[in-house]
Symmetry: C2
Subunit: 337 residues, 2 copies
């Protein structure tokens, strides 16, 4: 029941009969310590239950061993969560390896997003992971200007200059549409993601590419923009059916939108896959539970998070250069096509 305060490096030094610096060296694994001194210091640390104060350390080293993961909350609404959950798992796993803390920042609106620069400027984190960047988003540039290493989940456009990890969106989309055309479908519609995001544009580009490749004309009537939400998917499906009642397949740029599309098709008594085949994108948990189970493009979300984190710690801890990576996707065929 001693009212002792937490031991500091001085306490340990006194107990071990050495100087502050020697303790610091032992704690930080320096070689310049005699075996004898090291032993005494380690014993003292154990006895006193000493843990270095990371705040004090951060003050002098100017490093916090923490990175921020910034997620716009608007996108995480409505059950798009599987993506973020998997991403977080990946990020967290990789960070644990390098003993780095994860600061989670859910950003509600643009105002909060602007404010974030200030918050980040207080130097609480060594770097930033950014998700869901829209083309015109100025945040990533500002962060980099402030000298804060930044890694994006998905590039802003084809000429992105910052580090990023991307899925092979165009390739995956093309594979999906190729699969539909190869199965004899001739009127393959698409519900796109937001077209102010590279991920939306790239998946649409894949749809175009597969048509070109197969020599099937791609009518603009068969393209409708969605917003990655279930409701948006249902809406887009309804518009598509009005405009092109003869469509026989639809490629939705996300599983969640595909779920919305399935619901709308059911309402309109179109059978899946008999009348209309449906393919999604992501292979989230959802895809296995739809009726019928959803054919989709698997995106290695957890690995994406892991890779982002590794690249970021590479930069912050070892001064690694910028890196841009694209991870492969894979078509998973189930019963909806």
């Amino acid at each position: 029941m001693t009212g002792n305060r937490r031991p500091t490096i001085k306490t340990v030094a006194a107990r071990a009969g050495v100087g502050r610096t020697t303790v610091s060296r032992v704690v930080n694994g320096s070689e310049l310590v005699s075996a004898d001194a090291r032993e005494r210091v380690l014993a003292a640390i154990k006895e006193l239950n000493y843990v270095p104060n990371s705040v004090a350390r951060g003050l002098v080293t100017n490093r916090t061993n923490a990175v921020a993961l910034v997620i716009p909350e608007s996108e995480s609404r409505l059950g798009s969560e599987p993506f973020f959950a998997a991403l977080i798992r990946g990020v967290s796993g990789a960070l644990a390896e390098s003993r780095t803390q994860l600061q989670l920042m859910l950003v509600r609106d643009q105002a909060e997003r602007d404010q974030l620069t200030e918050s980040v400027a207080t130097r609480r984190v060594d770097g930033v992971l950014l998700v869901s960047v829209h083309s015109e988003d100025r945040l990533p540039g500002m962060l980099e200007e402030m000298g804060l290493p930044t890694v994006l989940a998905g590039r802003r456009d084809a000429g992105e200059r910052l580090s990023y990890v991307n899925s092979d969106n165009a390739g995956g989309a093309a594979a999906a549409v190729r699969h539909l055309l190869g199965g004899g479908r001739r009127r393959v519609a698409t519900i796109t993601g937001p077209l102010d995001m590279d991920v939306g544009r790239s998946r649409l580009a894949g749809w175009h590419a597969a048509h070109r490749e197969a020599g099937v004309p791609a009518s603009e009537l068969l393209v409708e923009a969605g917003d990655f939400t279930e409701e948006g998917g249902a809406n887009a499906m309804r518009l598509l059916l009005e405009r092109a009642p003869d469509l026989d397949a639809v490629f939705a740029a996300s599983d969640l939108m595909a779920v919305g599309a399935l619901a709308e098709l059911r309402r309109q008594k179109r059978q899946v896959p008999k009348d209309v085949a449906v393919v999604g994108f992501e292979d989230s948990v959802l895809a296995r539970h739809t009726d019928p189970p959803l054919t989709t493009v698997r995106q290695p979300v957890e690995e994406l998070g892991r890779t982002m984190a590794r690249i970021l710690t590479g930069i912050t801890q070892h001064g690694a250069p910028r890196q841009q990576l694209t991870l492969p996707t894979e078509l998973v065929v189930r019963q909806s096509s």
Copy 2:
């Protein structure tokens, strides 16, 4: 293109022609500053784009304005994610109000969990939010002993001494079973959660209570333990059907287990709800997408997170006393019952 380093409080003081202390006072909103001085300081801050260094501040105040949310990853596997996603949203929202940062710690195994005390001892956080605490878990007690305010999501047992926020598990479960019995079902089985957790025991207690209340004998043959996973739910359902082929309803202690049960029932050609009624617990996104849509007990997960965060900041920022809260649940009837 000036190679200027980040401005410190001294830079600002010099620019405004005042002392360090005055700047500090302005920044921290003290009243003891003349209007004149305040104005000059604010101008200097704006000109220099000064942001106080929170690490240095933390060193002297011994506060970080950050709290940790600890989530055992084992439980978050397999798509139980909706719960954690909603929880995080709630926590994050409430923390934003009090300008507190959120440190996310996914803990993979018991070893990492033990290590966590050390990590937390480095004083990077002012308090801890703990999820999924098993009865014998010593972590909460250790944290509290270290003087780190702790709030649990769900108590460890009925005699819990720490702060917690709980759902009305027994009440919700009783409502679910009452609904089944009231609908004429006579052999209502239950797939429980882990019985080394209060949440598992309480929901089972609700099942018992409803039977007692209705004067229907509760046979132990109708009870099978699950682990909150889909697979576990399917397994338990299979065992229950072997043991009690005449069951006509099942109450699963989580939506995810209910989904597993639905799958198993389909495999065994039992119609839902005609042959067997199914009720889950949580009302996650999943529940609306099962076939048929799942009757379930809604648990205010986001509010639970919000409340936990508010209680914790109440303790860390205003020295509020311990608090224990139970949030109401609500039966949501859909087509599975």
